[in-house]
Symmetry: C2
Subunit: 185 residues, 2 copies
DNA sequence: GTCTATAAGACGATAGAC
DNA sequence: GTCTATCGTCTTATAGAC
């Protein structure tokens, strides 16, 4: 792996775990076993430029993954259940935070720049779009699909936050107990 | 207002807006128009002790507020709708973040201490408990009330995160469109 | 109880050698 | 493309005067 990709990969993990402000450049550099010179060669604008690259990488990784799951299932209900199960399993194995939550970054948004906010909203919207299309495919009218897909995005994001706080997978797995009341079979 | 209370009040606002790591002591001190000496007199263990006091204050404020709303309505459905409406309105008026979200702090939890995590989980659990009791009162069986109350907590927290990211109140107000499908009238 | 002054270190960022 | 060395600023925290 080249240095730039390695840098994005390690920074991504650390930002997701500790938030943007919670991670120093030195920590990232140490993880990559490189020094400041290399970082500023690849990201002349420094830490924030690195963060935006991380958010873009996350967007690609997450949407690709969700997309694959949703293509493998006929209904939104079973696809979402599979997704939630996967997230639960990831959260369970290793105490590492699964790669899907970036609320750690979003929550600092008011002290960050406009490009960062844009990258975050883009991420949520791409996820929601996958749900939305699948719901249309299920036969839901457009307005209802919009509402449901937003609600799904909201619930899963909130569940991951609570899993993090409680150090438990219950908030996430509990979603699967509720979902059948919202989505048709 | 005495100095200690003022300190908690101002720090609470700043932590909610920018997260724990995002706020420096100097910023808090400037807002209160006091200096380091006063802060370390009231909080000998420094910033983290102040944070825990803030979380406790938030818990009291939030649960009291929710409790009051829930006492004024006969069903969980109408009470929750009123709560969500209030949160939406607060988020709308002024660009300040409403006082209910502390995901900005939770998300940094992995780089914070155990007492902080405990204060955060306590907060979520107190909120959930209010929903839980109201659901029992509505006639739901215990197991279902537990599941629904957790889901409500998750959804509202997630909605506030997305409102923050998108700079829109839609994620929150959308909850009220979905709720009637989950809770009986 | 609050102030000033200061310490010791981490922060992000830059310059220049190789 | 990566290194070392350094800069200025900001950070939390402490000591001691009042």
């Amino acid at each position: 792996m080249d240095t730039k990709a390695l840098l994005i990969e390690e920074a991504k993990n650390l930002f997701q775990q500790k938030g943007y402000k919670g991670v120093g450049l030195n920590e990232i550099l140490k993880e990559c076993e490189i020094t400041k010179g290399a970082l500023y060669h690849h990201f002349p604008n420094g830490k924030e430029e690195l963060l935006i690259s991380c958010l873009q990488s996350m967007q690609e990784e997450i949407t690709t993954d969700i997309d694959m799951i949703f293509q493998q299932h006929s209904s939104t209900l079973t696809a979402t259940k599979t997704l939630v199960d996967k997230l639960t399993a990831e959260l369970d194995s290793g105490n590492k935070i699964a790669g899907y939550t970036f609320s750690s970054i979003v929550s600092e948004i008011s002290s960050l720049s406009e490009p960062v906010r844009n990258a975050c909203t883009a991420l949520y919207e791409e996820i929601q779009k996958i749900y939305f299309k699948k719901l249309l495919n299920d036969g839901y009218p457009e307005e209802e699909a919009a509402s449901l897909s937003l609600f799904m995005t909201v619930s899963i994001e909130g569940a991951m936050t609570l899993c993090l706080a409680k150090d438990s997978t219950l908030p996430l797995s509990n979603i699967n107990a509720i979902l059948p009341r919202l989505l048709k079979d």
